[in-house]
């Protein structure tokens, strides 16, 4: 099973929900796909066992074979190649690695070389937790599997790295994907293929505005989804009204509480700081699994 956690607006509580959910159920694997700014590791404190660099293929031109015909530049959707009268320039940071230029070069002057864009790290939750939470739990929380991607600084190409993070999805486990904020291609790459998507929002005008955008994206992708309202009690009831009007289930409400924010600021997950919420996340999981939302 694959459950993704997305939001539209940033800072609504995707990681809070994804981490707390993963720590509340058994047989879970968390995949942090927010490769531009991963932060689930702060709360999971994983022991990393495997680190592997991720590459995309980029063109390299043999200028002795190139006759500057311009075909590669014409076929490059990402505008990563400039062909001048007697020179050719490759802008590698714009290249998505599609391979069209080398495939279609009439002179056979272009070959592909690897360019590192980031790293994927794989591990599991360590036993270095601050609270006594682990000892009070079933042994399963200590075996939470962890994967994330870290895009190199200055790099703009998140989707290829997200795809490699998602290669670690284990069909026999509950895979929880912490998606990036927004509604653009990194989000789509992260959530696609999920069995269910949790949209985390907050009852503020910004939260609602971006929730509506995220809902439009998920409906286009035909993904089943429901809403978790974080910081419930803050703001107004317009999010509730919107969900009712659109027939969207509100799966859970997380109250606007200082203790939750305090734990977050110290890098402690919500359910480790406030274990009483663990049953709410278990209930959230059961509702998603059974698709009983009313």
């Amino acid at each position: 099973m694959i459950i993704s956690v997305a939001s539209g607006k940033g800072g609504t509580g995707k990681t809070t929900v994804a981490v707390s959910l993963a720590l509340s159920i058994s047989n879970a694997k968390i995949l942090d796909c927010d490769v531009e700014e991963p932060n689930a590791h702060i709360f999971i404190k994983p022991e990393i066992r495997i680190k592997k660099p991720v590459f995309i293929p980029v063109p390299e031109v043999d200028k002795s074979k190139c006759n500057f015909c311009g075909r590669c530049s014409q076929v490059c959707v990402y505008k990563a190649i400039a062909v001048l009268k007697k020179d050719i320039l490759i802008f590698k940071e714009l290249c998505h690695g599609c391979g069209a230029c080398s495939y279609l070069c009439p002179q056979g002057a272009i070959k592909e070389v690897d360019r590192e864009i980031g790293v994927v790290e794989i591990g599991r939750k360590g036993n270095n937790s601050i609270s006594s939470f682990d000892s009070a739990q079933d042994s399963h929380t200590a075996s939470l599997q962890f994967v994330h991607g870290k895009l190199n600084i200055g790099e703009a190409m998140a989707p290829p790295l997200i795809r490699v993070v998602k290669e670690s999805i284990d069909k026999n486990m509950v895979n929880i994907i912490d998606a990036p904020p927004g509604t653009s291609s990194p989000v789509i790459e992260s959530v696609k293929g999920s069995d269910f998507c949790i949209l985390v929002t907050e009852p503020t005008p910004f939260g609602l505005n971006d929730l509506i955008l995220a809902v439009e994206v998920l409906r286009k992708l035909n993904l089943p989804f429901g809403v978790v309202i974080n910081r419930s009690g803050l703001g107004d009831n317009k999010t509730d009204k919107y969900c009712k009007k659109e027939n969207i289930s509100i799966l859970m409400r997380i109250p606007f509480r200082k203790e939750i924010a305090l734990a977050y600021s110290r890098g402690i997950s919500m359910v480790e700081a406030l274990p009483e919420y663990r049953k709410d996340f278990q209930k959230l999981f059961e509702r998603i699994k059974d698709r009983k939302f009313s």
Binding site: K79, L84, K85, L89
Partner: protein
């Protein structure tokens, strides 16, 4: 000799467009005959790489110098490789910029004047 001025309109009285890669028009003017051609910029709404594509476009036109407000790093690199002089910090009307260029009032720049994505709306 031909120069290219980035312009907000298609006339010599139009205002200079401060962006290079995403300018509205390229005005390509002959400094001797005073003939000119206004070409709508095909890269104005490009998703990315507008500066590179505009630079390549300029390189195909036998242009000696580009007069504009700002160029980014990729556009600068392309124009520089194509041997086109880049003059930044130009503002006002296109006609006046051409005159100032003819009077030798401008100096070409030896690097980009703004960072990536500067002209993105």
């Amino acid at each position: 000799m031909k120069v290219c001025i980035t312009s907000q309109g298609d006339k010599l009285d139009s205002a200079i467009d401060p962006r290079f890669g995403r300018c509205q028009y390229f005005i390509i003017a002959d400094t001797e005959s005073e003939d000119f051609e206004a070409v709508p910029n095909p890269n104005m709404d490009s998703m990315g790489g507008a500066g590179i594509q505009s630079g390549q476009f300029i390189s195909e036109k036998e242009i000696k110098a580009v007069l504009t407000g700002n160029v980014g790093p990729n556009a600068y690199q392309t124009l520089n490789a194509a041997g086109v002089l880049v003059i930044t910090g130009v503002s006002g009307r296109v006609r006046d910029a051409i005159q100032k260029y003819k009077n030798g009032e401008f100096k070409s720049t030896d690097g980009p004047s703004v960072g990536s994505k500067f002209g993105t709306a």
